[in-house]
Symmetry: C2
Subunit: 422 residues, 2 copies
């Protein structure tokens, strides 16, 4: 740690309540947890006027502080958006409760039965930026998976989050669960986040959601275990046998459908044997949608409007209508490029060659490795997980879209009849 | 971090070789990995004389440096012990390879198939103390699970570990796998451990094995994700209905069979309604085996030879023939005591009451929760995992005995036929 952070009595008091709430949630039945979610959805709609009012104050402050239009949009909660948030909470009601699921089990030779079952993680901390929808999503996912959650939501959304947490706490209390199941340290400002990172023994896992800078800072400072959700320098490789229509459609979909998200395409690699046939129509369609093409020399020979690509471009998650393009002479060269620049989020090959498809699936090291699909499918919703906590780009505990299961740990239940160890 | 540690070129060079080796291991077949394990077992036996010779130098230095008899014993490798180590390596050959196992999968509504499969973690770092058997165990488990491993084994075993790693690397190379699959940073001294803890991007997970102090230091300093293996302040609760013979046998087995390990019993709690009947015979049998009994007042009334127990005793993992004993008036009081002092390793109830058994299993938060069994069964070998990496006492990624499966991550394989996201 850069310096020792002492937990203040007020934060310790809050965290002790979170630990107690987590203990109550461990044994809460699925129907009680679902009733809490239904109450949350109901109360969000019932209090939408005061949420919009608080949000208006945050938006006014944000405009004064010069937030970009993109950030202001993410910060905005209209009545319609609150309605969708409430719908999303109800969607989580219909998902299976992971708690109690039997993962594996066996009878030992001495007759003891062992069974590994899913249990809640306990207290989950989340540090995120000015997106009040995350407040609701995370509270709902944590409730369903039996976890208490301590949120730190960023000062730009402070008024909105305060009202949201109040509404959620009231709903939870109305079904007899402890209101401290959802807590916020926003009132402690920046120091709240710093204390959360040092709250070993209270907080079981910390999930940072937001910019690469935020995530790096949390990884660096935190002594609580962290799950990184993260950046996507996402590649597609058009193999020699890539069908033209798939190449055109999938590259366009992966780049253009929503360029600001982590599973959007950043770098296109094309086999030299098919570059003449594929690149002109693929890049023409991108250009039609306003994509700026950063390309190597061989690509620029086929698409002179492109600007020269740099090493930095290949390493950058643009999150904008920019794409880096390079021609490679083999699958091995494509794999080497991906190995060098990938952030291990999502990589896709477009091919009709079974051997190359299998090599790509086996050899690429990423959370999601695809054949003949748009990279935009790496998503908890698309994978059928309902809402998602984030997309883990690390290898420990969870990798890829994180749903309810990823918010659980396990424990071993051991049932004997008087056995001693020999 | 307490201060920024810069990786030296020599360490970066070593780690880059580890990363390359890890990549080769990802696609190594189970039969190749098993051939490597067989070669390791063969070469350990073939080089036992030089291993014993190097070990002799470490033992001589250890005696000069005043190591305790216990530490010297753990440091010692005789021909017979090397033989058992080789046998343990061959045991791992017969275990199932976790790599490639399908964890779950489904077809999405659009026809895309998603499948979550197990993959190696990549590069696993292990920091441990003067136990050369860990060098062999970890190298073998890492090989079988397709991981490269970077070891830091403690200066007291430096000569022994150097020869062991040489022998293992030779064996690995003899079957065509890269020798860097097993590496050591021992040559870099203490600085090797510190650099390993900062080797983000090279090392995927760091596992400290050893004293509570070592583990706490690694958790504090490391920016690489850590799996804690750990301390066990282990409890048994003799419920009102605990059968006398089980109470006597299981408490004795849990405390006495091997007091120096983490799953040994530290604190005995007894229901007041059965204390008169159970405590005298249970404690008499412990006393016969030389156990020092630290007890509360009500226990001392039944067993006057006991010394007074302190709060510190309840919080201490003695790892010796000492036990703390207290009488409680209810299951709830027992659960509260366990909640306060447990390190969440292993807790056991001895009871004939089904309701209390289920409450104990559900409400106790620990890696292993037992009914009517000795706590000594929390062990990778007993659970059927073969050798074990350690026993995780944290909730993220792995909890309880860690075998081959716990040395894997997953990735999502996504197979489409031209799907774009709508």
């Amino acid at each position: 740690m850069s310096e020792t952070v002492i937990l203040t009595p007020a934060v310790v008091d809050l965290l002790e309540k979170s630990v107690d709430a987590a203990r109550a949630l461990v044994t809460a039945s699925t129907s009680t947890k679902n009733a809490a979610l239904e109450a949350v959805a109901r109360d969000l709609r019932a209090h939408s006027a005061s949420i919009v009012e608080a949000n208006g104050r945050d938006l006014a402050a944000g405009r004064e502080n010069g937030l970009t239009d993109g950030l202001l949009d993410r910060l905005t909660l209209s009545e319609a958006r609150i309605d969708s948030l409430a719908d999303a909470v109800l969607d989580i009601v219909s998902l299976a409760d992971p708690v109690g699921e039997s993962v594996r089990g066996s009878a030992l030779p001495n007759g003891i039965r062992i069974e590994q079952v899913r249990v809640p993680l306990g207290v989950v901390g989340v540090i995120y930026e000015a997106r009040p929808n995350v407040t609701v999503d995370l509270a709902a996912l944590a409730l369903k998976s039996g976890n208490a959650v301590v949120l730190r939501g960023g000062s730009a959304a402070e008024n909105t989050n305060r009202v949201l947490v109040d509404v959620i706490q009231g709903a939870i209390e109305s079904v007899g669960l402890p209101r401290a199941a959802v807590e916020t340290v926003d009132a402690f400002g920046r120091d709240g986040a710093r204390q959360l990172m040092q709250a070993r023994g209270y907080v079981d896992v910390l999930i940072p959601r937001g910019s690469a800078g935020l995530i790096a800072a949390v990884v660096d400072e935190s002594t609580v275990p962290v799950i990184e959700t993260g950046a996507g320098v996402v590649h597609m490789f058009l193999d020699e046998s890539a069908p033209l229509d798939w190449a055109v459609d999938l590259v366009h979909n992966a780049k253009v459908q929503r360029p600001s998200v982590c599973n959007a395409l950043e770098t296109l690699l094309v086999h030299s044997a098919s570059a003449d046939a594929l690149l002109p129509p693929v890049l023409a369609k991108l250009a039609e949608s306003g994509v700026t093409i950063h390309a190597d020399e061989r690509t620029r020979a086929l698409h002179p409007a492109a600007v020269a690509v740099t090493d930095d471009d290949f390493a950058t998650e643009h999150m904008s209508l920019d794409i880096s393009v390079a021609v490679v002479d083999s699958l091995d060269e494509a794999l080497a490029h991906i190995r060098r620049y990938s952030t291990k989020h999502t990589e896709s090959i477009i091919t009709n060659d079974l051997g190359n498809a299998e090599r790509f699936l086996n050899e690429v090291d990423a959370a999601a490795v695809m054949v003949n699909a748009s990279t935009r499918f790496t998503d908890g919703g698309e994978f059928g997980f309902g809402a998602e906590v984030g997309i883990s780009t690390q290898k420990l505990h969870a990798r890829g879209p994180m749903g309810l299961t990823e918010l659980t740990s396990t424990k071993w239940l051991v049932r004997g009849s008087g056995q001693s160890r020999g």
